[in-house]
Structure formats: C-alpha cells, structure tokens
Amino acid sequence: MNLLAEPLIQRMLLVGLLVGLAAPVMGTYLVQRKMALLGDGIGHVALAGVAAGWLAGSLFDLAQQDALAIPGAVLFAIIGAVVIERMRSRGAAADVVMAILFYGGIAGGVLLIGLAGGSNANLLGYLFGSISTVTWGDVWMSVGLAAVILLVGLGLRTALFAVTHDQEFARSTGLPVEALNMVVAVLAAVTITVAMRVVGVLLVSALMIVPVAIAQLITRSFARTMHLAMGIGAALTLTGIWITVFYDVQPGALIVTLGVLVYVAVASITSLTRRGT
C-alpha cells in the first residue's frame, strides 16, 4: 500500500502522467494534418541525436557518458522536424522525406554509438524506453517541456486547427501560416523526446496517435477529441506503469498494447451500437 510513497514509483507515475497528457495533444494535430507517422521519422532522428550526444560525452570525457544524450535527441529531433516542415511546405512528398529521415536516423544512430565506443545495447534503453531509471532531474525536465507543449498546444488550439483545416482560408485571414506549421513540427519533436523516456523511440508515435484514434471513434468535435485523447493517454500510461510495478513487463510495450486493445474494444462496441440503431 505504501508503494505510492516510493520515490521511484512517484517519479515514474509523474513522468507517465505528463507524457500521457501531452503526447495526444500533439498527436491530434498530426492526425489532423494526416502525418500520423511523423513521430516515427522524428523518433529515429532523435535516436541519432542520442548517439551523437553520447559521442560528444565521450569526447569531452564527461563523468556520465550519457549526460548529453537527451539534449542531443532534442536538438536532432527539432532539426529533423524543421527539415520535414520546410520540404513539405515546398511541396515535397512528405512520406518520402519521412522515410529518408527514418533510415538516416537509425543508421546514423548505430554508426555514431559505435564511434563513441558504446555498443548497440546502449541504444536499447532509448529504443524501448527506460522509465525505471528516471531521475528527479528527468522529472523536472519533463515537467518543463510538457508545460510548454500543453500551454501552446491547448492555448493555440483554434489557430492551429484553422491552419490545418483550411490553409488557403487561414492565409486569407492574415494568420501566420508558416510560423504556425513550424510550431506544430517543433512541438511534435519536443513531445517525442519527452515520451521517448517512457515508451522508447519504437513506440513513441503510438502514444501520440492511439489515444486520438480511440477518441475519434467516440466524439465528433475537434476540441472534444483532443481533451478525450488526453484523458485516455493519461489513463493508459498510469495503468501501464502501475502494472509494471507488480509484473516484470516492458512498460512501453504494455502501454501501447493496452491502447491497441482499448481501440479494438471501442471500435467493436461503436460499430455494434451503430448497427443496432
């Protein structure tokens, strides 16, 4: 019963809650602009950033070799997001650009970590998530980044919706369309690096998209979809992390599996009730 008093469990639940709330906010915008797979592309670039940070850490002989891993991931992810957004707004096929980043990220990551004298095992924590090693420093960084994501993502909801719903109309109103598109791309990158800690690069995109997909089965309004997805995301991460306290399973994989199961259940229920009426 006193498990909740355990600092590690507190840290895990807190980070899980923040990520569960923040990821679906950006996920809603990605689904809205039909770029649900953007998270995968950027996630892999972030992985290269982790490796680059590691390499820098070993070059500078830092005591903690992975001290620069997360800053590296944030930097690379933002650069990747900006590149994708630039190319997309110039009319390049977004899926091809994402595929290139995807391959470049994972190949570059493996090469860089090799150069740093690490092994691919060092990358595994980032591939699959490593929430059980979360420190208070990680928690405060997550709090800060999640606050930015929630503040901008919720506060500018109508504007970000306007730009993705009808770009041409948005331009006619004088909205700064390019800047707002860039805001979405950069915040998505930040979300990915925060969520990477919990579910890992391989599943980071799922945490952004699956709650939105579930919410969409239920509601017809953009705002409600976003709010419901936040609730679902938080419930999924908290449940998943709580279960891993008792059973030795991989938290990221568990959270995403739970989400997919909920999706299947809700989809069957809604299709049944719709057939019934």
């Binding site: 009808d166 006619s172 969409q216 953009f222």
Partner: protein, 274 residues
Amino acid sequence: MSEPAEIRDVPPSLVEARDVRVSLQGTEILHGVSLTAQPGEVVALMGGNGSGKSTFVRSIVGAVPHQSGTIRLFARPATASSRAHLGYVPQRISAAGGVSATSLEVVTSGLLGSRDGADRVGARLRGLVPPRDAHARARAALRSVGIEDLAKRDVSRLSGGQQQRVLIARALVRKPRLLILDEPMAGVDLESQVAFSHTVGHLKHDRVGVVIVLHELGAMAHHIDRAVVLERGCVTYDGPPPKDLGVHALPGHDHEHPHTDPPTRDGGLGLEGP
C-alpha cells in the same frame, strides 16, 4: 508611392487589382488582369472552367503570390494586416484534416487572423486566439445562413450545400467590408440561392463590397452591378452585367449558345485586357 491622377477622384476601392500576373509551377496562368470593387458594389467574376477565376481570387486574398502587378485592399497595399476586414469563401477546402470538427468550430476559426492595427505585435498575437464572444458570434453567423441547428454536427458529414453554407458563415462571422466568394452557389439548391441573394442584398445595403465567382447569374442577377469576364487568363469584358442570365451571352465569350439571343452589345463597353 504616388498614384495616377485618374484614380484619385474615384472613391477609394475596397479592392484594386492592376495588371496582376500569376505563375503556378512555371506556367503563367494570369496574364495581367485587373479588377476593382467599390463599397456596396457587387462584382461578378465569370469565365469558363480553367480561365483563371479561382487563381485570380486566390491571389487577391493572398493565398498565392503574384509575380507582378499591384493588389491593394482598402486603399493600402495588401499585407497581412489589411486582411482584417476581408471575408473569403474558397471554392473548396484546401486541406481538411483527419480529425472531425463541428460546424461551430469551423466558423469560429473565421474569427482569427488580423485585427485592426495588426502591424503591432500585440494585435497579431491577439489574432491567434478567438475573442471572448466567439461562441455567440459563430452561432449568429450560422443562424444568418439558416443552419444554426447544424452547429454541433461534424462538417465532413454534412451535405455539399450545407458545407457551402458553413463556409459562407465562416466568412460572414468576420463582419467583412469586402467579401470574396468563389462559386458559392455550386451545389446549392434554388431556395438557398434565393436566401443567399437576400444576404447579399443586406451586405450591399451595409456598403460591403462583394466579388463573386459565378457561372450563372441566377438568383443573384438583380444584385450584380458589374461583370468581369476572364478567358485564358485575360480579362475580356468588364462592364454592366448581361440582361441574359448566362456568361455565354457576354461579348468575348466564344462559346456557341444557340438557345439565347445575345443582348444588345453596347459598343462603348470595349474589351479590356492586354
């Protein structure tokens, strides 16, 4: 910038496009087209499919850049801040996302963008969030096009004509001084066309300028003050609307139309264009 003397004595135009050239993907689509609209004036922009009507209208509202020529809105060079009083109804939604949205949300998005004094940073930032009374204003706009009952419905599941009304409401909610509509009557039943022509009558009474892309004057005919006809990216006619209800009757339109007699051509109307 000094203005030519002959423009100075006419009342300031709400929109004044001069010799606008637009190229899309390396092909010149508009070869120097001009159009003006005064307060309270309803201008019909007509022409066959692919003649460049939408491209012209999109360059006026700032959705596509023009390579040369000038576009002035409200007697100022067109900038983001001059779009505060502009209402635009596109021919079709250019992006439409993967998440459903209600009519009310779509109309509310029309309240964003430039505000008065938008050249200042504070005003630009305020344009990023809806005003406090957004909800009531969006509902009123939906009511004005007769679909308040559809406020909470998912727009992507409305009929084509209902969606068109949502887009008109999204433009009207801005209380524009200049309203630009690209084929708002496409797929709209006759009753709604008549209803919308009443709306245009009210706007005209309030001195709003209207530029409307049409194929047939239809229910709108008695409000139209002037017709501008485009053909292959050039203006071939700019003058009083034809008595007949179709673009086919206009001079400069080479399409054969055996069922209607062309109206008496006024020799003084002249064909404009390069």
